[in-house]
């Protein structure tokens, strides 16, 4: 079974295998990032811009703002969770408020 990932409702949330898994409005701590000049960005996710699958990781780019410095923009790719076994499709989400390192590339989730 392939893992089906998309963002819906104007980027309000990420669906993984037709289950709502990641919502906007969480704060994400970003380290080793280029989003802003803060050593650790305190990033408010306001909208999902793009989603991708780089098995087993599910990744997304979010629009939002660092609430420390106020910089607005779109993040690089953040791992939002994993589907370890595509056959059972079980999603294991990351904890947004722990530290995340954005990466430059991932494979885009495309419509089938």
């Amino acid at each position: 079974m392939t893992t089906d990932v998309h963002q819906l409702d104007d980027g309000a949330w990420i669906s993984v295998n037709d289950s709502r898994e990641i919502n906007v409005s969480d704060l994400w701590l970003l380290a080793r990032h280029e989003f802003c000049d803060c050593e650790m960005a305190d990033f408010l996710a306001e909208g999902v811009v793009e989603v991708g699958v780089d098995a087993p990781d599910i990744a997304a780019r979010f629009a939002g703002r660092c609430i420390q410095c106020g910089r607005e923009g779109v993040t690089d790719w953040l791992t939002v969770g994993r589907v370890i076994d595509p056959d059972d499709g079980q999603f294991y989400g990351v904890v947004p408020e722990s530290v995340h390192v954005p990466r430059k590339r991932t494979r885009l989730a495309r419509p089938e």
Binding site: D4, H6, L8, D9, D10, G11, A12, W13, S15, N17, D18, S19, R20, N23, V24, S25, D26, L27, D42, L44, E46, G47, V49, R65, I67, G70, E72, R110, P111, E112
Partner: protein, 588 residues
């Protein structure tokens, strides 16, 4: 490559969704295959059903589209009864009770906690009374808005109500326009005050005279969402009322054919107008989508616009007692943040029958209007106890308040909105003196950048945010100032960012004190803000705690329902069956 939503739409969309919806309703929530949830919930929007946010699975928001906000005699009672019978959730709202109706900024009605299993009965009740949820959400012609007193207004040059009715009849359920790249919002106005808010719609018809004939100038590509606000652009076209439908058909067909179906974030027609410019919009409309020569724009009436225009002598809403051209009166009532209890709604319907024609209208400021009240009945209506809660003469802080749905039900919102705005308005009324001469002061609170509360066209704009207070994340707002419509509309300037929610009332108090202290003679608030540079605006006032207390500082989005005693996501009863009993989930 078309987006996933486009793929779902290409399989099933438009009127045909209903048949599936009814089957699912008959069989129950469980009948929707789990791997088709997203596709069906996207499609159900076309029939006015929007799946509520995480933690509230199996419950829907239902939107009823009432063109131009006109609720015909007998319909309001039905709406109230439907709300009372079907729009009750597992937990009451502490401000509004167990069942309520929301009057929206697009003159529509929203009910919450609707169960799929109840949809057939609700549709039966609504449709047998001339009401419908068709195309209230989704990628199609949405509810048509306009001056809420069209046909009953002394400032009117053209009665826009028959035009709005024509458009509603023509484009609701019309398969040719059922599947557009994105939502399609239309405004039609015939008065010279600008209260149709055409500037923030995808397509606007505004009154204009051409060679001695009254008709409409056409503007395209307005909208407020996603930090990309645009005012509708003038495409230099005039139409007589009888051809408005042809031009509307042409422009929505242009959108259907040329709108972006690959990137939903770039799909609204405002982005096509950005790309093409008004001249090309006009040329393509003329060459490909209408079969008569489009006249150039006529002489508009924008220099007379007074609605939300930032003038002292303007008008900010339709609240109050106003004479109609036929000698009767309309009475505009303030509904704080647009939410009215179901029992109050039914009582209002009775009052409208008793004192007026039974008709009630909704405004784009989330208020209601009782129309057609004979002069001799005015005093008795004004003496009714219901009008103590929904006043025709409210305090400016009450009448100026607008709030969107917020994290109570909405997936996109960052913050709690309606209950908070109620508390803000009450605190401001009790604690802050408005500067002399200020009659209208608009504070619009939107939980996110979607801008459903239209924050950018308010005196004070509040947009949902987060910040940290004592190291803890709390709900907050970006604050914008000086927005409004009128001849020269202006979006609010974002001045103060990430203000903790409990410091917003203190900021507004300080802001108004600064305005009173520093304003020139006769300078309106909007002029006062426009006259200052960014640095000066930032120095104008500080945010601070006051006696105001905010019970929603925590991350309300993390709860299943912010007002539940046990609000933890795991305590949610959802999803439930048709009787509201929790269903076992596949994880159990």
């Amino acid at each position: 490559m078309p987006s996933k939503v486009e793929n779902w739409k290409s399989e099933v969309y438009g009127s045909e969704i209903r048949e599936h919806l009814m089957e699912f309703a008959e069989e129950g929530w469980d009948a929707i295959p789990e791997d088709e949830h997203d596709a069906w919930f996207e499609r159900f929007k076309w029939w006015g059903l929007y799946h509520q946010r995480s933690g509230q699975e199996s419950y829907f928001m239902m939107r009823i589209g009432t063109p131009n906000g006109v609720i015909e005699p007998g319909q309001l009672e039905v709406i109230g009864e439907v709300a009372k019978e079907y729009a009750t959730g597992p937990v009451d709202n502490p401000e509004f009770g167990e069942a309520y109706c929301d009057w929206t900024t697009r003159q529509s009605i929203q009910l919450h906690w609707i169960k799929l299993e109840d949809v057939p009965e609700i549709f039966e009740k609504l449709e047998s009374n001339g009401l419908s949820t068709q195309q209230a959400c989704g990628d199609s012609w949405r509810n048509i808005v306009g001056c809420p007193v069209a046909g009953k207004d002394k400032h009117e040059h053209i009665d826009a109500w028959p035009v709005a009715e024509d458009l509603h009849e023509e484009f609701k359920g019309n398969d040719d326009y059922a599947n557009l790249p994105r939502k399609w919002k239309v405004s039609v106005t015939g008065c010279d005050q600008g209260c149709g808010q055409g500037d923030i719609n995808d397509l606007a018809f505004e009154p204009a005279e051409k060679d001695g004939e009254l008709g409409f100038n056409v503007r395209v590509g307005g909208g407020l969402s996603r930090k990309e606000p645009r005012f509708a652009r003038d495409i230099d076209v005039w139409v007589p009322p009888e051809q408005a439908s042809d031009v509307a058909a042409g422009m929505s067909a242009l959108f259907r054919e040329y709108g972006d179906r690959e990137d939903r974030f770039n799909a609204r027609i405002k982005f096509l107008v950005d790309e093409w410019g008004p001249e090309k919009m006009r040329r393509v409309l003329q060459e490909e989508f209408v079969d008569f020569e489009l006249p150039t724009a006529g002489e508009d009436m924008r220099d007379q616009y007074t609605y939300n225009a930032g003038h002292d002598d303007g008008h900010g809403d339709h609240v109050g007692v106003h004479e109609q051209p036929d000698g009767n009166y309309y009475v505009g009532l303030d509904v704080l943040v647009g939410r009215m209890g179901a029992d109050d709604t039914i009582e209002l319907a009775e009052l409208a029958e008793e004192y007026g024609s039974g008709e009630v209208r909704l405004t784009q400021r989330q208020n209601v209007i009782v129309t057609d009240v004979p002069e001799e009945d005015l005093d008795a209506l004004l003496d009714e106890p219901l009008l103590e809660d929904y006043s025709p003469d409210p305090h400016p802080f009450m009448r100026g308040s607008i709030a969107c749905t917020g994290s109570e039900f909405c997936s996109l919102s960052i913050t709690e909105t309606k209950n908070r705005q109620v508390r803000y308005a009450r605190w401001l009324k009790d604690n802050v003196e408005l500067p002399d001469g200020v009659q209208d002061f608009h504070i619009h609170l939107s939980g996110c950048t979607a801008s459903c509360a239209q924050p950018q066209i308010a005196d004070v704009s509040l947009r949902g945010m987060k910040t940290r207070k004592d190291g803890e994340p709390v709900e907050a707002f970006d604050i914008g100032l000086g927005g409004g419509l009128g001849e020269d509309p202006h979006f609010a300037d974002w001045v103060e960012m990430r203000v903790a929610a409990d410091e917003v009332p203190g900021y507004i108090e300080n802001l108004l004190a600064a305005y009173e202290d520093q304003r020139e003679d006769g300078e309106t608030f909007r002029e006062f803000i426009a006259a200052r540079e960014e640095d000066a605006l930032q120095d104008l006032a500080t945010a601070e705690e006051t006696s105001y207390e905010d019970p929603y500082m925590h991350n309300t989005k993390m709860t299943w329902y912010p007002y539940a005693e046990d609000d933890d996501m795991n305590a949610s009863p959802a999803p439930t069956d048709g009787s509201g009993q929790p269903l076992a989930t596949s994880d159990d």
